[in-house]
Amino acid sequence: MVAILQQLLNGVWFGLVLFLIASGLTIILGILDVLNLAHGELFALGAYVSTATIGAAVGTVASPTGWGATAVVFVVMVFLGIVVAGVILAPVGAFLEAVLIRPVYDRAEEYQLLLTFGLLLMIRDVISFIWGTRSLNLPGPYAGVNELKTTELLGFGYPTYNFFTMVIVLLSFGAIVYFFNRTKTGRIVRAMAIDREMATALGVNTDRLYMLVFALGAFFAGLAGAMILPTRATNIGMGDDPLVLSFVVIVIGGLGSIRGAFVAALVVGIVSRLAIATAPAFELAAPFAIMAGVLLLKPEGLFGTWGEIE
């Protein structure tokens, strides 16, 4: 029973992280109409930046042992690493959009795919140029965070860090929904997604908003990259699987739908973690089977879209 509950919680956790990656992809796709193949590499870049930041911070402040006060210090470190990853990725995304992707908006979508695939390869080698090709691992701080026992009261053990990141993701989800539904800029962005020319005519600086949207997408990719760290070491090509899985998520949820991506990410996360426990052979296949099924039965995805996407 506890084992199933843990698998379920793992699924929820994985689904939430997946949602963060997919949300960036779906925002960019829904508003800019660009399928950003380099999104997985932005995720990987976030993971590397976060590893470097946390590693440096821990090295200067505390040694990765002990509990109690040290654990709280580690929470601060890890939080710092996550935020820095997002903060560094946002201008990277803005640069990619403004300088490299902007010239191809009015070209056929094949060229956008080719361009972002080229960017994927280039970012991959920038990463291996900066951090080398060896995989980096940083178990200390996370073990430190997990020294804080939060689930003992409920009668079973579950890593505190995972709860910590779940809260961050839920806050991010709330912030995205709030931004697009309640703030003026968010509403303008939605209007721009429906008719860019009209938005320009009404005096909206659409170039700048496009850049903002891409930076937002990159920010969430970086955030997600930082959060996945304790379950895996960083390595070159770590962005491939999340990229593919976030395609699955945004298709199941409906292209451009944030809420749809949230539900779909949870479904994919839980299904893939339960598949690991019960039928490992179909762990990889299960999400794609769901995706194909949804596309065949309900091509527009589970939820409607708020951009104007055909």
């Binding site: 010239p103 094949e110 080719l114 280039m122 700048r208 395609f247 179909f282």
Partner: protein, 383 residues
């Protein structure tokens, strides 16, 4: 030979100029014909050239195999104007069929392996094509991607297909080699013979595609690509035609994949089925020029060459490849072959550079200044 249409068997006169006529509907100018002959001869001489120069024989062979798949994909891309992002599925089905038949069923004959490989790929294309033919645009791309990844995940997860390690293309005969015409050859000779078979299949595939492109069927596909609703109104059976085109493109993938399996003698999931292979097949078509017949094949050889050769010279081969793809998008939108054709934007720019270098430079300067001021406007607003 001199009168307008009749003349000799292979030489005809059109518009007062002598043309070479290979068969009905296949007429070349002498220059194009000479290039064709040179191209074919070079293709057959690649193993000999590779012996004396550092030209990597394996990369050229693999490039041709992926190139056939790209030629097939181009039928969808060029005419129906749909992006298939799962074409590695059919390539992989062809390759895996050779692996499964040799390892599990001890089939040693190359001919049987190729035929069954292509048949299996055709069946796969029929199923996937039937399920996807109603979808267009990004949904079509993502649905084909889903089926491609499904095939990858199944090959990866099921032990019968060798799992993550892949499966060897080696029958149980004493030499553990696939037989050609009942003979077992040494590794070196075997590789070259498989290459020659590939070249023959490439030429046949191109010939079929050449005939196909000029057929009413592909004209109808063009109409479907322009507007599906209108195409249906004028009586084109849209769904059946799209299905047929999808299956044909899948057959091309199967040919490439079967030959790949025989050539490599080992099939791994990520070398044949992973979504990046699908992406590469698509990019081969665009890199070479997807508005041309030969483009995808040239793109295939060039891209595989880049991916496999640059890594011997620098650790950062991905960066170089990525940079080249980006530069192609910006400066060679018609692809390699497309840019060589007369009237392409690259040729026009080059002609302007030669005739009026000053105007060309000021043009470039204008464009640079415009994009800079736009960037400034984006960042700081105002004017």
């Amino acid at each position: 030979m001199s009168d307008a249409e009749g003349g000799g068997r292979f030489l005809v006169t059109r518009d007062g100029q002598r043309h070479v006529r290979l068969m009905k509907g296949m007429v070349f100018t002498p220059r194009k014909f000479a290039m064709l002959v040179v191209g074919v001869v070079v293709l057959f001489m690649v193993p000999d050239i590779a012996r004396f120069t550092p030209l990597p024989f394996g990369s050229v062979a693999q490039g041709l195999m992926f190139g056939i798949a790209a030629v097939g994909l181009n039928l969808l891309l060029r005419h129906i104007r749909e992006v298939s992002f799962g074409h590695a599925a059919f390539f992989g089905v062809g390759a895996y069929t050779t692996g499964v038949l040799t390892t599990h069923y001890n089939v040693a004959s190359a001919g049987v392996l190729i035929v069954v490989g292509v048949v299996m790929a055709t069946l796969a294309a029929m199923v996937v094509g039937y399920l996807t033919l109603r979808h267009i645009g990004i949904y079509f791309a993502l649905l084909t991607l889903a089926f491609g990844q499904l095939a990858y995940a199944l090959a990866f997860g099921i032990d019968f297909f060798g799992g993550a390690d892949g499966i060897a293309v080696r029958p149980h005969n004493p030499g553990r080699k696939v037989e050609l015409l009942g003979q077992v050859f040494s590794s070196e000779v075997y590789g070259i013979l498989i290459y020659y078979i590939t070249v023959v299949l490439v030429l046949l595939s191109l010939l079929v595609m050449y005939r196909l492109v000029k057929s009413p069927f592909v004209r109808a596909l063009d109409a479907i690509g322009q507007n599906r609703t209108r195409a249906r109104f004028i009586g084109i059976p849209v769904r059946r035609y799209v299905w047929a085109a999808f299956v044909i493109s899948g057959i091309y993938g199967g040919i490439g994949g079967s030959m790949f399996g025989l050539f490599q003698e080992y099939v791994r999931p990520e070398r044949t089925l992973f979504m990046f292979r699908s992406g590469e097949i698509l990019f081969m078509a665009i890199l070479g020029g997807f508005q041309t017949l030969l483009g995808p094949l040239v793109g295939g050889v060039v891209l595989i060459f880049l991916l496999q050769t640059v890594r011997f010279y620098t650790e950062y081969f991905n960066f170089i490849t990525g940079l080249i793809l980006v530069l192609v998008v910006y400066f060679l939108p018609d692809g390699i072959v497309g840019s060589l054709q007369s009237g392409s934007s690259a040729r026009l720019a080059f002609a302007q550079l030669r005739s009026e270098p000053a105007a060309f430079a000021s043009d470039l300067g204008d464009r640079f200044r415009r994009s800079m001021s736009r960037l400034q406007h984006t960042l700081f607003g105002g004017r």
